[in-house]
């Protein structure tokens, strides 16, 4: 057993999975704590999924309900699909954190609080008339009141730090406690601390001391009668790292551009929760990555389109409000038939909505959010790691079909993390790019017979000078044309080109019963909840299955046949019903929607509950 892993002499119980949430004030470092606990758990060999929960964008006054920040982790010896419904453990750094998170803690669950933070002022800020520590309202939980602040202060007392600095080490004390409780190795965290505070050795010392103090306190204080072991999960062999959706998206783009042997150009304007992709790519210039922070979203996509004209792998990233502004240029990209990937990292709308909360309500906009007949292929990632695959795929399709492609992810995927089996760059699909240079027989809109895509000719190519634009073009030459039948021909060929992308879509994976009572069709970030729910139902003998679409336009060719094999079709979405509309119109199936719009993912139990109702015939028609 590696050094530093907490063992303790007391009773050790085994558990399949644990769902833990760290909650505190925005200034309490809960995101760091959660992320480190995740790393420790990954290195301990568990499968896992995470859910950070940010407060509204501006940092609220310390101690208030609006200022609470949380991070949830589900780690397990079994395959994990979601960050978990209900909590086994809640760490609450102050009354506000307790108040906003307690309802998710299972009865009998472990509740760790910092006793000293429950003073009158904090209680008032959290709207507690009297202290919940005293009114018996916490009796149904295993409550552990720890003097976190005092113990941390004691551990750091000879370091000469300000009390503010000491206070900011409290989170590592808690991490130490939970690491002991679940037998997590703390070296990776120590390593991280050393790296992070490289420039201020006293903070390295302080944080490591706090971490160890938490561990040793748990070990010695006999506070916890039991500690828990969660065995390593059976995971496919290979090398892994944790990855968030946004990082995976960025890496997918870089990988595709590298494979295509072209520079990557990102034109973007910051917006929550998309900014991190810009941040990530800005640091990867050595991969021939050009990032352009534009004056607005229109300029972001405009610059990307200009770069595409010049032969770069061009992308733009944004969230809902910014997508509106990109619509006109998407239409232009489609008219001039240049490759371009538009990434919408969805958040709760409409309008400014709730910027830090997740939603998947931009699908119909992706489909129809432009004037005129303007078809665009749409891809959507299913999990944080899948963002890599779908970003890569979006580039591949854009280039092959000379078309803008919309990639949808969401705030839940973007900030959530899961273990990513690190791919071998050599085995990634090819992304062939061949600029036309031969002037003989050249026409700007001469189409490839299979893909219907036009040649990519970049400025600088002698003898192929030509002009493109947004006016309707003559079928072959691309000259401006107002001829009635030419317009119809162009409209139909553009539609056919996008429809033809169906040949890029792999056969649809059906999870669960190959035919039967109920098929759940999902897309995007709901993957985990649906998969786990269907897994449970199927294991319980229900003839239920799950199909998760990653290609939303066009749909997979085999989808119609699959839909026909089930009596009922249920479409869970974090919106008021969008994919369900597309399925109904396309296949005339009486698919019904299961919709939740609360800025957060489905719980597995919610989906199971709804399915059981349908399966038990309690609900015949929605």
């Amino acid at each position: 057993m590696p050094d530093g892993v907490a063992t303790g002499a007391r009773r050790v119980e085994e558990r399949d999975s644990i769902v833990i949430r760290f909650a505190g004030d925005s200034g309490d470092g809960m995101q760091v704590t959660g992320t480190q606990f995740t790393t420790e758990s990954a290195l301990a060999g568990n499968d896992l999924a995470t859910l950070p929960d940010f407060p509204a964008e501006i940092r609220a006054p310390a101690g208030t309900l609006a200022g609470v920040s949380a991070f949830q982790l589900n780690f397990s010896s079994l395959p994990v699909f979601t960050p978990g419904d209900d909590l086994d453990v809640l760490v609450a750094m102050n009354p506000a954190a307790l108040k906003t998170n307690l309802e998710d803690l299972k009865p009998g669950g472990i509740l760790i609080i910092d006793r000293e933070s429950f003073h009158d002022q904090n209680l008032k800020k959290a709207d507690y008339a009297r202290s919940p520590l005293e009114d018996g309202s916490l009796d149904r939980y295993q409550l552990f009141q720890v003097d976190v602040t005092k113990l941390t202060t004691a551990a750091l007392k000879d370091l000469g730090l300000s009390s503010r600095s000491v206070f900011r080490c409290r989170n590592f004390f808690c991490l130490g406690m939970t690491s002991w409780l679940y037998h997590r190795p703390i070296e990776p965290t120590e390593q991280w601390i050393r790296e992070k505070f490289r420039k201020t050795p006293e903070l390295v010392e302080a944080n490591i001391r706090a971490l160890r103090a938490g561990l040793h306190f748990s070990e010695n204080a006999e506070l916890f009668a039991v500690s828990y072991a969660v065995k390593p999960a059976v995971i496919a062999p290979g090398r892994y790292r944790n990855i968030t959706g946004n990082t995976a998206t960025a890496l997918g783009f870089v990988a595709a551009a590298q494979k295509a042997k072209r520079p990557l150009f990102l034109g973007s304007y910051p917006i929550t929760p998309a900014s991190d992709v810009l941040h990530e790519l800005s640091g990867l210039k050595q991969y021939d990555v050009y990032t352009f922070q534009a004056e607005d979203e229109i300029a972001g996509i405009g610059a990307a389109l200009g770069a595409a004209f010049g032969g770069a792998i061009a992308i733009t990233t944004t969230s809902g409000p910014g997508m509106n502004l990109k619509a006109e240029t998407i239409g232009l990209a489609l008219a001039v038939e240049l490759p371009l990937v538009i990434t919408d990292i969805q958040r709760a709308g409409p309008s400014t909505g709730m910027p830090t909360k997740t939603e998947q309500a931009d699908l119909l906009m992706a489909m129809h959010g432009r004037h005129g007949e303007a078809p665009v292929p749409i891809l959507a990632a299913a999990t944080p790691a899948d963002c890599f695959t779908m970003a890569y795929e979006a580039v591949r399709i854009a280039v092959k079909y000379m078309t803008p492609v919309i990639l949808l992810t969401d705030g839940f995927l973007a900030n959530g993390a899961e273990p990513w089996p690190i791919p071998d760059p050599d085995t990634l699909p090819e992304v062939p790019v061949a600029f036309r240079t031969d002037p003989s027989g050249f026409f700007p809109y001469l189409r490839d017979e299979e893909t219907l895509s036009r040649p990519w000719v970049i400025p600088g190519t002698a003898g192929l000078e030509h002009r493109i634009g947004g006016l309707e073009k003559e079928y072959l030459t691309g000259n401006v044309s107002y001829a009635p039948t030419n317009h119809e021909q162009m409209m139909r060929v553009r539609a056919r080109k996008v429809a033809g992308i169906v040949r890029e879509i792999p056969p649809t994976e059906v999870f669960g019963a190959p035919e039967g009572e109920l098929l759940l069709v999902g897309w995007g970030g709901t993957f985990g909840s649906i998969r786990q729910a269907v897994g449970q139902l199927h294991a319980a003998g229900h003839r239920v299955a799950h199909v998760h679409l990653r290609h939303l336009n066009p749909f997979p060719a085999d989808l119609e046949g699959i839909l026909e094999r089930y009596r009922r079709i249920l479409v869970p979405e974090i919106n008021l019903g969008q994919l369900v509309r597309l399925l109904r119109t396309e296949y005339l199936v009486d698919a019904i929607g299961f919709n939740k719009v609360q800025g957060r993912p489905f719980k597995v139990s919610e989906i199971v509950g709804r399915c059981l109702k349908l399966l038990n015939g309690e609900e015949e028609r929605s």
């Binding site: 062999p237 790292r241 890496l251 990988a255 607005d296 405009g302 770069a307 493109i468 634009g469």
Partner: protein, 334 residues
Amino acid sequence: MSTPGVGEAKLGKKDFVSDQDVRWCPGCGDYAILSQVQKVLPELGVPRERFVFISGIGCSSRFPYYVNTYGFHSIHGRAPAIATGLKASRPELSVWIVTGDGDALSIGGNHLIHILRRNLDVNILLFNNKIYGLTKGQSEVGKVTKSTPVGSVDHPFDPIALALGAEASFVARSVDVETRHLQEVVRRAHEHKGTSFVEILQNCNVFNDGAFANVTEKATKADHTLVLEHGKPLVFGKDRDRGIRLRNFQPEVVQLGNGVSEADLLVHDETNPALAYLIARLGPPNFATPIGVFSAVERPCYDETLNQQVEAARAKTAPDLRALFNRGDTWTVD
């Protein structure tokens, strides 16, 4: 489509004429501008295939169709954004933006000031006819148009002042029919490193005929135009007998002679944007319309700096996807 432009003896104007019929109203000032640009291009020593003309929407924005180079007739107001992406990623190209007063100053105003701020090394030709030609005659000028039947309540931008406000590094003005002057300004624009902003006064003979008659008619021209020349005093008039003098930081027109000599006048200095701004705000009715190069200063170009950063990063670390994928904490499952 086109014949190669590289390795050829020497290109001439006709090599920059595309195969498309030019479709502006007969008499439109755009023809003259097209012709001058086609004359200057072959003289710039740039292979034809390296030229790219990018435009927005408007009569003026049809320009790229008629020039036998690469061209992109984009959407209304967005040419600077598209040009930015192209130039930033392909700095070896010679990128030209052609735009109109509606396209650049109305819907496209933000991209215009931002490209000027960033100082991308591109050239902007703004055809200012003080009217929306393509949509048949709306204007922001205080005149009666279809959309302003009782006269407009709008005060128009002075494109030169606006460009100076955005700290443009090269700011100039010329006139559609002043063929020599226009050619020279276009050439200077090309030579300048950084965004070259050129306002070209252009007659729309259908919807706003004679908007610049003062400046273009033989009879009135000399008295109404102030031709700027670096290092020369600000003199104008048929008899070159009037000049601009500064008194308590207020410009005034003075008659030369009677004790007032050229030495008393303001001397044009292209390297001084504050002077350029002062001159820009001269103009009718109290002063003559200044034409020429208002300001030409050096400052870093966005495209150059960005490419240097990419180069530097590449020089420091070789791109290695495997290393990238394996960043951070990794673990192996056997």
